[in-house]
């Protein structure tokens, strides 16, 4: 057969013609391009059922907690915190640990009772200052930390309508609110309380202190920790309340800073003008500082009784939590 007469359509190929002579290739065929190729199906849609079991309430709550807290460490797969926010949290955390190298230096040079010991050693004033000192912690660090953490915590759900993915699932408003609250408190606590704990324990380690030292200072440490915990709770309450009333993370952040710095400034001006410290009862920071001074047994900077600051703190927390709860109650599932 001449080459040009090979019948390609009939699946008789040149290979057949050449090798199809009783050597086992009689059935051999080759893929031959046809004039019209059929299109293959790339996407096959198949419904796949799932028969797994859904976990209990704590698993759902832990998922909310994990989503918000892990996001600080890695944005992959969890709530995204802006890289600058994460950097700021890291800087604040490292800054809050600055007394530790000073303690190390103090023990390294044998500065017993000297400048370093006085400035950074464990005593009532320094324990109070580690969490409640105005500069730099409550002027530059803790309010800023709170503002960036609470900023979009609930307001983002309002803005993006993501409250629907929570409340159309078996998650109650109580669970949602408490897990958001816990997430913020843990992040703040990690920086504020953990740095306080690290400061105290490193003092013991660097100076090789014994049980007697521990017995002397532990009650002070615990009181300071209580004061720090009250600070974390109060800042979380106020911050989350602000986050819940807005769709803007900027509003919540700037609102928080305004409350902390604004009330402090106004109270200071009133003190300078009228010579009374009573107005400090409206400043969250001063109420915390006053209560902390009482807890650690150091002389108070305020003329009014500590009970007023305590009551004021309770009122601030109550109002904030009431606002938070009522605003979360208003979050919609069907539309926002």
């Amino acid at each position: 057969m001449p080459e040009e007469q090979v019948d390609l359509e009939g699946e008789v190929t040149r290979m057949d013609a050449a090798f199809g002579s009783g050597d086992g290739d009689e059935e051999a065929t080759a893929v031959v391009a046809k004039s019209q190729a059929s299109l293959g199906q790339i996407f096959e849609q198949t419904y796949r059922p799932w028969d797994g079991e859904l976990g209990p309430r704590w698993m759902r709550n832990y998922a909310i907690f994990r989503h918000h807290v892990y996001g600080v460490f890695t944005s992959k797969g969890h709530r995204q915190y802006h890289p600058m926010v994460r950097l700021l949290i890291l800087i604040i955390f490292l800054a809050s640990l600055t007394p530790i190298p000073m303690l190390f230096l103090s023990s390294f040079i044998g500065d017993e009772g000297g400048f370093f010991e006085k400035m950074w050693g464990i005593n009532r004033y320094n324990l109070w200052g580690q969490v409640l000192g105005y500069f730099p912690r409550n002027l530059c660090m803790w309010p800023l930390l709170t503002a960036v953490v609470v900023g979009g915590m609930i307001s983002d759900d309002r803005q993006h309508g993501t409250s629907a993915i929570y409340f159309s699932r078996p998650i109650s408003r109580l669970d949602y609110t408490s897990m958001k609250y816990l997430s913020v408190a843990i992040i703040l606590g990690f920086v504020i309380i953990f740095s306080y704990f690290a400061y105290y324990t490193s003092a013991i380690v660097f100076k090789a202190e014994g049980w007697a030292y521990l017995a002397d200072t532990l009650p002070l440490f615990l009181r300071g920790m209580l004061a720090g915990s009250i600070l974390v709770i109060t800042y979380t309450s106020i911050g989350l309340a602000l986050s819940s009333i807005s769709q803007s993370r900027f509003f919540a952040a700037i609102g928080f800073l305004s409350i902390i710095y604004g009330t402090k400034l106004v109270s200071l001006l009133i003190e300078l003008q009228f010579g009374t410290t009573f107005m400090y009862a409206m400043s969250p920071y001063d109420c915390l500082a006053h209560t902390g001074q009482f807890l650690l047994g150091i002389p108070s900077n305020y003329e009014h009784p500590v009970s007023i600051s305590v009551v004021s703190l309770m009122a601030m927390n109550s109002v904030s939590i009431w606002l938070l709860v009522s605003r979360v109650t208003s979050l919609e599932v069907t539309r926002e």
Partner: protein, 331 residues
């Protein structure tokens, strides 16, 4: 609780005398429902009470009076169990734009109590199912409207729910995306044997997918029936396309006692008996008009909806009147 296949004929959703009041405003009034398995369309104009009904069924709001159950769970006391068995696809945007699609769907699964490993695996499966396999690792903020809707559907399907509630699932979608969404929902019902409750203003969508409808108006159920039965209940009509004097023709038909509906050159005449066609043709001769086309008219869901709304005194010319920018995607 309904788990046994032998109980599959039982209604999945029931309600008896359900009422919901927001202060003095009556949002749902004496709702009596029996929704069977399969695909059911929930229809009604804006503010009719569809969203309130969904919220009641999800156990999110307390009813003022009456009772109801979803898959055998009491809507007043067992909202948590109901929401574990239901997948809800909200009408409005409900996605975090900063997350990857796969992470969002996984998180949606974890919020139901799935462990992270299962939720991740399932997220991949459902994203493939809704056609987003290649977009799994894209941030949601880069998604088109169709992809956002598909992601919401994936979030709702992640735990393989018994009932899928879709609030306007084809909102803002172009023709191709709309067809794919309906095909996906259809497959979920026919292949996955799941039930779908869908609200929509697009009657074609409801007709394509659903076997039966529930129509709500001012908080009351006005129709609850299969689409097939409804079509049969509607009066038969013949449709004529008239040239050269449709108004004249309309008058002529009215004068011989025929009931008509006119849409420009198209006149639909109610078929009363076998002589109606002859009468209509004679009327055309008398009016001196051309009959360009004449055929038996088959009513669709849109017609039924408009007829019912007309009877209820609503001034709706077409379902487009019910749509907002969100429905049309701004087009």
């Amino acid at each position: 609780m309904i788990d046994d296949d032998s109980l599959s004929e039982l209604p999945i959703i029931t309600a008896k005398g359900l009422r919901k009041m927001y202060g003095p405003h009556l949002a749902l009034d004496d709702i009596n429902l029996e929704i069977p398995r399969g695909a059911v369309g929930i229809l009604g104009p804006n503010g009719a009470g569809k969203s309130t009904l969904f919220k009641c069924l999800l156990g999110l709001i307390t009813t003022t009076s009456g009772e109801g159950s979803v898959l055998g769970y009491d809507i007043r006391t067992q909202g948590e169990q109901i929401r574990s068995k239901i997948g809800y696809m909200p009408e409005y945007n409900a996605l975090d734009p900063n997350l990857f699609a796969v992470d969002h769907v996984r998180y949606a699964g974890e919020l139901l109590g799935m462990n992270p490993k299962n939720a991740t695996q399932r997220a991949h499966e459902v994203l493939e199912y809704v056609g987003l396999k290649d977009q799994r690792y894209r941030k949601i903020e880069t998604f088109s409207t169709g992809m956002l809707q598909a992601t919401k559907l994936a979030c709702a399907l992640v735990h393989d729910p018994d009932i899928l509630i879709c609030d306007e699932p084809t909102n803002g979608l172009d023709q191709r995306a709309r067809e794919f969404m309906l095909q996906t929902l259809n497959r979920t019902v026919r292949e996955g044997k799941r039930s779908v409750l869908m609200s929509s203003h697009v009657m074609d969508d409801v007709q394509d997918l659903c076997d039966s409808i529930v129509m709500i108006h001012k908080g009351k159920i006005v129709i609850q029936s299969s689409i097939e039965d409804l079509v049969e209940q509607v009066d038969k009509e013949i449709e004529m396309v008239i040239w050269g004097g449709a108004s004249k023709m309309e008058k002529e038909l009215s004068s011989i006692g025929l009931e008509t509906r006119r849409l420009g050159r198209v006149i639909r005449i109610k078929v009363e008996n076998d002589s109606t066609i002859n009468k209509a043709l004679k009327a055309a001769v008398s009016a001196g008009v051309q009959v360009r086309q004449m055929k038996e008219y088959e009513p669709d869901l849109e017609d039924i909806f408009l007829l019912v709304m007309d009877k209820l005194g609503e001034q709706i010319k077409g379902t487009e009147d019910l749509m907002t920018v969100e429905h049309t995607g701004g087009d």
